[in-house]
Point group: C2
Chain length 350, copies 2
DNA sequence: GCGCTTCGACGAAGCGCTTCGACAATGACC
DNA sequence: GGTCATTGTCGAAGCGCTTCGTCGAAGCGC
């Protein structure tokens, strides 16, 4: 590989001038820069990442810590990852994935202290996350995707569950629904302190009550079978719900399957609105689901921007940045049975 | 951060002695080593990855190139990734994930030339993969997971589709089945040159014919709906298949759903054997599926070992290493209707 | 006791880059 | 026309580590 010295020689300038031309940290005349650039091209020069990292004490690498082994990488996360990787690249950084379990916080810290990365994006943050303490105490720049119980001054980005559930509920109530149920993630996720389970549940209940209605909430295992059972149980309730909001993709399939098997028309007799979904799930069902799509890409870009400002030494932002899911119409949501069809573009709020 | 110089000073030895104690590239007396080790602990020393990489021209990083944006990271891949990450760590390396699309071969190459990684694991290799040519021409050490059309002397590990399908077929034939169908991945994957679609299909057909039977093969979109349609079509065939082998997880759910909806008993009237599955899918169906589980973890370990030997400069292995899937009994496979129940532990081969 | 090898440790020369201080050359200003 | 910034470039000092050549001190056989 050609070195910077080779480039300098070929361009007839000094080594440092090449470096400044590359980094822009000092001005270089247009003519000189041009000679340098063409020398680089001629030599196929690639800057040595290690040398650069050593001299600048910056690896230009951002690490995304994700427990891939435990969860796999679903569609939402994939969207997040690719948006984050692209955003990082635009800023001259690289995004690497560190598949560490939640309890391997020390290894993450050590890798950063060894200079393998300048900062860390921590995904799947639980309400009480050991990694956050470790990283904070070690002075490692990081940004959370999700929030701990106590958000106090730690940089984070997250889905706006409160607004997402409110919009979901408002939408359904605007269509005349009065009996709404929520199919949440499982009790097991709650036991792990998986924050979305709590935030969405609370948001849903609050939004329903704000309409003077009574929420029905079920925590359901992540399996089609559990979804079927939940649907069966909801159908037996009196009053029977006419709309169900789900935040549990796998169970959602079970819910829809059970409804179909019982001959309950979707959306004529029961509306199904899947929230915080990943791309592509809508079309895995028939009729295609109406969903509220998780803002994975936006979160990815935002998380990288936030982390880079942490790496640069900026003070942490006062509050978490929250982004709601966006409604993507499908054919699983309709007016409540017996309700007048909602006027197009009607304001869903009472 | 403490440097190696600090450690040397505290231990009362020279810098180079510390280095040799750490690397083992030269002998260091036990007493000296012990002083060094305790000095390291006292200072909380972490070797600087950049400096080490610069001096040794080795980053000790292996990159896993995976088009996460396109595919998401399913269960199989997650198993692979975590096994590979662990294997790498055991060898003093780090595994990072580079989420590049298949057409970003140049970026992968450049990153390696910049010294960000010593070698590359290329996942989801297609029959004619542009990345393979680019990496080979650039002299970048790499190992493929999967195989190109032409395996000639390129290091690779892969699922043994031939043996997996043969064992699946033998198992079913041993249970008395005479009419076997295969639900494959979609035509779209075939168009992309996705190798498993071809290898499994060919393996299945050959295995069935080896028993003097006639294979039925369908390429099915990756959706439950497409699975339902495939099942419906298979049921209408004459003779009607009594066993279906599937290699398409999402479609498999549709197949099972359609069978259930039509009241076709699984496995009494129809056996379903899902091959190349990821963990957990068996239990997402009811009854739990009999599966042949993808050897993701073994492949991960093997791929890392192969890549490290490439990085060390060994000649590429003559042939690809293939690992079959392993049969995991569930309750979706049984004797053919009307066939005598297979004796326990019966040899499935005729 | 002599030369011989072996062992353990040291010093110094890089690895390829960033960045600081220095310094001509140029232009602006009164 | 002298002073003072400003601009563009250079040389050199590291960044923290690996590794080569070297060398004193033991250990060996005879």
């Amino acid at each position: 590989m050609a070195t910077m010295q080779d480039v300098a020689r070929l361009a007839g300038v000094s080594l440092s001038t090449v470096s400044y031309a590359l980094s822009g940290h000092r001005t270089v005349s247009a003519a000189t820069r041009e000679r340098i650039v063409s020398a680089m091209e001629e030599l196929g020069y690639q800057p040595n990442a290690m040398a650069r990292g050593l001299a600048s004490r910056r690896s230009r690498v951002l690490a995304l810590v994700y427990p891939a082994a435990e969860r796999g990488l679903g569609g939402t996360v994939a969207e997040f990852v690719s948006a984050a990787a692209e955003a990082a690249r635009e800023k001259g950084h690289h995004l690497v994935l560190w598949p560490f379990r939640t309890d391997q916080a020390d290894e993450v810290r050590d890798l950063v202290l060894q200079g393998m990365a300048d900062g860390v994006l921590v995904m799947e943050v639980t309400l009480d996350d050991p990694r956050v303490t470790t990283l904070r105490d070690a002075g490692v720049p990081f940004t959370m995707i999700g929030r701990t119980r106590d958000v106090a001054g730690l940089p984070s980005v997250d889905v706006d569950f409160e607004r997402t559930t409110r919009e979901a509920v408002d939408h359904l109530v605007g269509l005349g629904h009065r009996h709404l149920a929520f199919v949440n993630h499982s009790e097991a996720t709650a036991a792990e302190g998986y924050a979305p389970t709590f935030r969405a549940e609370e948001g849903f209940a609050a939004a329903v009550r704000a309409h003077g209605l009574e929420p029905v909430v079920r925590r359901v295992d992540e399996s089609p079978q559990a979804g079927r059972e939940a649907a069966a149980e909801l159908l037996d309730r009196s009053p029977r719900p006419t709309a169900v909001v789900t935040m549990n993709e796998i169970a959602t399939f079970g819910v829809v399957a059970e409804l179909q098997q019982r001959g309950i028309g979707v959306p004529d007799e029961m509306s199904v609105l899947a929230i915080v979904t990943s791309p592509g799930v809508a079309d895995m069902s028939n009729p295609p689901l109406t969903t509220m799509h998780s803002p994975g890409a936006d979160l990815g870009r935002l998380a990288v921007a936030t982390l880079l400002s942490q790496v640069a030494g900026d003070p942490p932002p006062a509050a978490a940045t929250l982004i709601p899911c966006t409604l993507e119409p499908g054919r699983s949501v309709g007016p409540a049975p017996g309700a007048p069809p909602a006027p197009a573009g009607a304001e869903p709020h009472p």
